[in-house]
């Protein structure tokens, strides 16, 4: 065989425009820049309150928030609230995700069901779920139960849609390969459906966590005196602005850390999907 069989791979055509060149230099500068922006904002805040341009009763000051934050880490009230809210979120996530994965898979597999129920579900998804909160409170009372059920409801809506959309990523040609090479039902699911739907499932799980989190906290904030949400309300009503902000800061940091970890995990696990960089990586960040 006089052939050039082992030609080097062609350079991959990039479907999406590459992001602006990330040279090490820009990266380092950017890191400094981010810190600078945050520090500048804090200084402006501190100075404005110090000179009385904003009333520190209402927005507190960065220093006061810092102090409250360190005190908070030792307060049993806050720690037990964190623990109970964390437990509620986990429970809501599990319940909502299980329901959502089952419903989403069924909808993803049946074109008819998708056509019938996708529009109402999409409407529900972009409707502020908090308007249904009174129903949950009326039925489940004020307390952990309604927080968990409401969180599970929020999570389930998003997981359902995203799992169903993920199933749509399974390509016909790959299903044809499975048929032509005589894969059994289980083999088709394992070798073709699951890997294809993985990015969608990942997005769905992220939505599950995020919305279980938001749902539980909203329910607590609106009508409950326990948990982090309840505590935020109580502090705000007592005009403990520093404590309120410190607690929000803690929750925000947790949310950002979780989101960042998830982003990395997702890109790592679906790395073979090189060409879809533009679409796939934004889904988590933009949600």
């Amino acid at each position: 065989m006089q052939t050039n069989l082992s030609a080097p791979p062609r350079t991959q055509p990039r479907l999406s425009a590459p992001k602006v060149v990330r040279t090490a230099d820009v990266k380092a500068q950017a890191r400094i820049g981010r810190v600078a922006v945050v520090v500048a904002a804090l200084i402006v805040w501190e100075v404005l309150t110090r000179f009385g341009l904003i009333d520190s009763d209402f927005v507190s000051t960065p220093l006061a928030v810092g102090v409250a934050f360190t005190e908070m880490l030792r307060s049993s009230e806050v720690l037990s609230a964190l623990a109970s809210t964390g437990g509620n979120i986990l429970l809501a996530f599990v319940i909502g995700t299980v329901i959502g994965v089952i419903a989403g898979t069924v909808m993803g597999l049946s074109k008819t069901l998708w056509q019938a129920y996708s529009a109402p579900l999409l409407f529900l998804m972009s409707t502020p779920k908090s308007i249904f909160l009174p129903i949950f409170i009326l039925l489940c009372g004020i307390g952990s139960t309604s927080a968990v059920v409401f969180g599970a409801f929020e999570a389930a809506v998003f997981v359902t849609i995203n799992v169903a959309a993920g199933m749509a990523l399974v390509e016909d040609r790959h299903m044809k390969v499975a048929r032509a090479f005589k894969a059994s039902w289980a083999q088709t699911i394992l070798a073709v459906v699951l890997p294809s739907a993985l990015p969608g499932i990942f997005t769905a799980l992220w939505f599950g966590i995020r919305h279980a989190f938001i749902g539980v906290l909203i329910a607590e904030l609106w009508a409950s005196s326990d948990g982090v949400g309840g505590l935020i309300r109580v502090y705000a009503e007592q005009l403990h602005t520093d404590k309120t902000l410190a607690l929000m800061l803690a929750v925000t940091i947790l949310a950002i850390i979780a989101g960042t970890i998830w982003n990395h995990l997702e890109t790592r696990l679906t790395r073979w999907r090189q060409s879809s960089a533009a679409g796939a990586t934004t889904t988590t960040a933009t949600s």
Partner: protein, 260 residues
């Protein structure tokens, strides 16, 4: 193959779903033994809805909520687009602000309302400010990405044909950035709806969300359910407007973009 005709079962299935929902509701009231104090009967809710629709104050409340959402959204759109455009101008700025916008995006802003009440009171202003802040980040983030990821070949074409930097911005960058911007605006519209309505429910003196919270806290269950239905209608109208504004492309693959 391109135009998928809907299955004839679609509408019967939808009717079935609605029937099931109403059936469960009716069952809960009757054999289920749930007290009408917590789950009002369907006729009572319809009655309350009729009452609400015949009162001028309901329309006033709806107008307030609508106005707040609209104002918050417009503020967020203007500032978000400007911020995204400005931040995409240099690679360094882009790197710095992309992360900051993402943080703002990831932060559960919906929990921050108490701060807004403390600073701006319980009036209309705090709702608008709060809605605008929460809608700002998705719009800014998506605009930044949109302006930063213009195809290099297009920019090359612009350069080769002697476009000025103004022309490049308006004839090349803006059109090619539009799809991503519009998905950001869509998310922003959703965010302003969510936050404004929740803010009304938490602490306010007017608006449909306030009516809902008031009715629910005074255990006027039928009236609360009527408000929920009215709020869903309002949200439906707003979503319809957003769709009209952003030339909808009904395409299944893009669903995740509408998510909040």
């Amino acid at each position: 193959m391109k135009e998928h005709k809907n299955s004839p079962l679609v509408w019967p299935l939808r009717a079935l779903g609605l029937g099931a929902l109403l059936g469960v509701w009716a069952f809960g009231n009757g054999p289920g033994g749930i007290s009408p104090l917590v789950l009002p009967t369907i006729p009572r809710v319809v009655e309350a809805l009729g009452e609400a629709l015949s009162q001028f104050s309901t329309y006033e409340a709806a107008a307030i909520t609508f106005g707040e959402i609209l104002a918050a959204f417009i503020l967020a759109a203007v500032f978000g687009l400007a911020a995204g455009f400005w931040a995409a101008r240099t690679p360094l700025r882009m790197q710095v602000f992309q992360s900051i916008f993402v943080w703002g995006y990831l932060a559960p802003l919906i929990l921050f309302y108490p701060i807004f009440i403390l600073s701006f009171g319980t009036g209309v202003g705090s709702k608008i400010g709060y809605g605008a802040v929460s809608a700002f980040f998705p719009i800014a983030y998506n605009s930044l990405r949109a302006f930063a990821t213009v195809q290099p070949t297009m920019l090359k074409v612009a350069k080769a044909f002697g476009a000025s930097s103004f022309q490049t911005d308006f004839l090349i960058k803006l059109p090619s950035a539009l799809p991503l911007i519009s998905s950001g605006v869509r998310i922003g519209a959703g965010a302003s709806m969510i936050t404004v309505i929740f803010a009304e429910m938490l602490a306010s003196t007017a608006g449909l969300g306030y009516q809902l919270a008031l009715n629910s806290q005074t255990f006027a269950a039928p009236q609360a359910f009527a408000m929920i239905i009215l709020l869903m209608a309002l949200v439906g109208v707003l979503q319809g407007l957003v769709n009209l504004l952003l030339t909808p492309r009904r395409d299944r693959g893009k669903i995740t973009n509408i998510a909040h």
